[in-house]
């Protein structure tokens, strides 16, 4: 009898315990591209319940070419979003108070992918040889490279995403994430060689989590919880990417399971600095932001220079 009573009592306790727990806070994280290993850690955090454990119900929404994530965050349409480091600087210089909180990539994987048959040895060869280069119109990395190679012979054309043109045109080069598009080309039996834009000296943090400053100030604990969960997710994804990959293949069937797996492996050195402790994952340094701000001013993309320490906040 006593056992039954204590059982009943414990059931009662547990159930009231559940009832007392507040409903999870609904949050949105807006990505600026389709589900791919670039975002693996975010999906891993969700799958492993890291958000849930902190009382957050996070909805991860995919984006596409031209999704204006920074502006959406600035306009309070979503609390958290993904942007490139340079977008944060430009946004702040134009009066949108958006702050970087976590960077996936320490080394930006943005690069230029070329056909190896053309025998290019460097980025300079790509620009100073005839041919076609698809690159995002007016974006900071484009302007930086144009300023660096002023006598370019290559014809610049708009970049619309995908690799369809690359597969069919032997003189076609395009911008890429060196961790992604070259693998997709290889999958279609077209080999690709790539050059990192970071190696040319333009090194914005890549795939950065951003939020409005007033949101962070009003919700410091929630922001910390969110970033903690994200960091946990990325540690998980670096260790065991399988579950997140399975989910992402379902969301974005353009990338098959093998390519997801390979990309997850290839991108590791871009995410983890050698010798850095696991807790440093995603943390940023002021001097990198200062250097980026100076470069953006040199290519005349910004007039007002935001202070480096207002551009980011490590959690």
């Amino acid at each position: 009898m006593r056992i039954i009573f204590s059982l009943l009592a414990s059931i009662l306790l547990v159930s009231t315990g559940w009832a007392a727990q507040p409903a999870p806070v609904k949050l949105q994280l807006a990505l600026n591209w389709k589900a791919e290993p670039e975002f693996g850690g975010f999906y891993a955090a969700k799958l492993a319940g890291y958000f849930e454990k902190r009382g957050l119900n996070v909805d991860i929404t995919e984006g596409g070419a031209g999704t204006p994530v920074v502006q959406m965050v600035a306009n309070r349409k979503v609390p958290f979003g993904i942007a490139a480091g340079d977008e944060v600087v430009i946004a702040q210089s134009r009066g949108a108070d958006v702050v970087a909180l976590f960077t996936v990539y320490q080394i930006n994987p943005q690069g230029i992918m070329v056909h190896p048959e053309r025998g290019f040895k460097s980025m300079a060869d790509v620009f100073n040889s005839p041919g076609t280069l698809a690159i995002q119109n007016g974006s900071p990395h484009t302007l930086f490279l144009q300023a660096k190679f002023p006598k370019a012979k290559v014809k610049l054309v708009p970049y619309a995403g995908g690799i369809a043109q690359f597969l069919t045109d032997a003189n076609y080069s395009q911008q890429c994430f060196v961790t992604s598009e070259p693998l997709l080309a290889k999958k279609k039996s077209v080999s690709a060689k790539s050059f990192l834009i970071a190696d040319e000296g333009f090194k914005p943090y890549g795939t950065v989590v951003v939020a409005r400053r007033d949101y962070i100030e009003k919700n410091p604990q929630r922001t910390r919880d969110f970033i903690d969960a994200v960091r946990g997710g990325w540690q998980e994804y670096l260790r065991a990417p399988e579950n997140a990959n399975t989910l992402m293949v379902k969301l974005n069937p353009a990338i098959d399971a093998d390519t997801m797996k390979e990309a997850a492996e290839i991108q590791k050195p871009f995410i983890v600095s050698t010798g850095a402790p696991a807790g440093d994952l995603g943390k940023m340094a002021a001097d990198r932001w200062t250097a980026l701000t100076n470069q953006l001013q040199e290519i005349k993309l910004i007039k007002a220079k935001p202070a480096a320490d207002r551009l980011f906040q490590n959690f």
């Binding site: 502006q71 600035a74 306009n75 949108a96 076609t132 995002q136 014809k155 708009p158 369809a164």
Partner: protein, 257 residues
């Protein structure tokens, strides 16, 4: 017209414009809306002035592509309509496919146009032609089919050939409809050209794409403003030709006396 009459004619369309510009400027200046969401009209104006050379050459590029696309779709559309109007069977067989051009989401096939036609002009012109062809087909067909039956009977009575009937009655009587189709098509051709330029490169489409990347919303608005002026210029040109060719005889263009 006297100065007074002219002012009276211009005032009604100008007032809403002045009101909207004033409202937008005030809203941004007073901080009701941040300038990264809606630019102050004065900022758009500054961008128009500062970037006038780039915007001017981009506008010319877009206008000329739109014009070539429009001319192409005019000839192709008119020929197609004449062929369809000549037989009920042909109309029933092919007209449904003309509707395809009306419904094709140009933004989704633009990347294919690049693969077919390559980067640059050809893609832009094709895009302008594809979106502008349907209104031409639809209205030309309607025009060709609505000739007064008495006139057709008269031509039959004089045993006119099919070609004579087409050129001397059916075409002239279709002109008002053809022009109204052209008016719609000319605005669409500008839109089609800009969408083509997003993917194919060049012109105002590139300016918008690049300005958007740089979060330069003032420049986006400046380019959009110019593109609507291009649309107005094209519609105006069609109106001019329409008045020239119909003014002497058709009710739609005859001045009230």
């Amino acid at each position: 017209m006297t100065v007074k009459e002219r002012t009276a004619a211009l005032l009604p369309p100008l007032l809403p414009l002045i009101f909207c510009i004033g409202l937008a400027e005030t809203a941004v200046r007073l901080g009701w809306v941040p300038s990264y969401l809606i630019p102050a009209p004065s900022e758009v104006f500054r961008s128009l002035v500062e970037d006038r050379i780039e915007l001017g050459s981009a506008a010319w590029e877009t206008l000329s592509s739109a014009l070539v696309g429009l001319v192409l779709s005019f000839f192709a559309g008119t020929l197609f309509s004449v062929a369809l109007s000549s037989s009920e069977l042909a109309r029933r067989a092919f007209y449904p496919y003309a509707v395809f051009f009306q419904t094709v989401p140009i933004i989704s096939i633009a990347p294919l146009l690049v693969i077919w036609f390559g980067f640059g002009r050809p893609t832009v012109i094709a895009s302008a032609a594809i979106v502008s062809v349907f209104p031409i087909i639809a209205s030309t067909l309607l025009g060709l089919k609505s000739t007064e039956p008495a006139l057709l009977d008269l031509f039959k009575l004089y045993s006119a050939t099919g070609r004579q009937t087409l050129w001397m009655v059916r075409m002239p009587f279709a002109l008002p409809q053809i022009f109204s189709g052209l008016r719609i098509a000319s605005g669409l051709a500008v839109v089609g050209a800009i969408v083509g330029e997003f993917i194919g490169g060049g012109g105002l489409g590139s300016v918008v794409d690049s300005a958007r990347t740089q979060q330069r919303i003032d420049r986006v608005f400046a380019a959009v403003l110019i593109s609507s002026i291009l649309g107005i210029v094209l519609v105006g040109a069609v109106n001019f030709v329409s008045a020239l060719s119909l003014g002497s005889w058709h009710a739609s263009e005859r001045k009230p006396s």
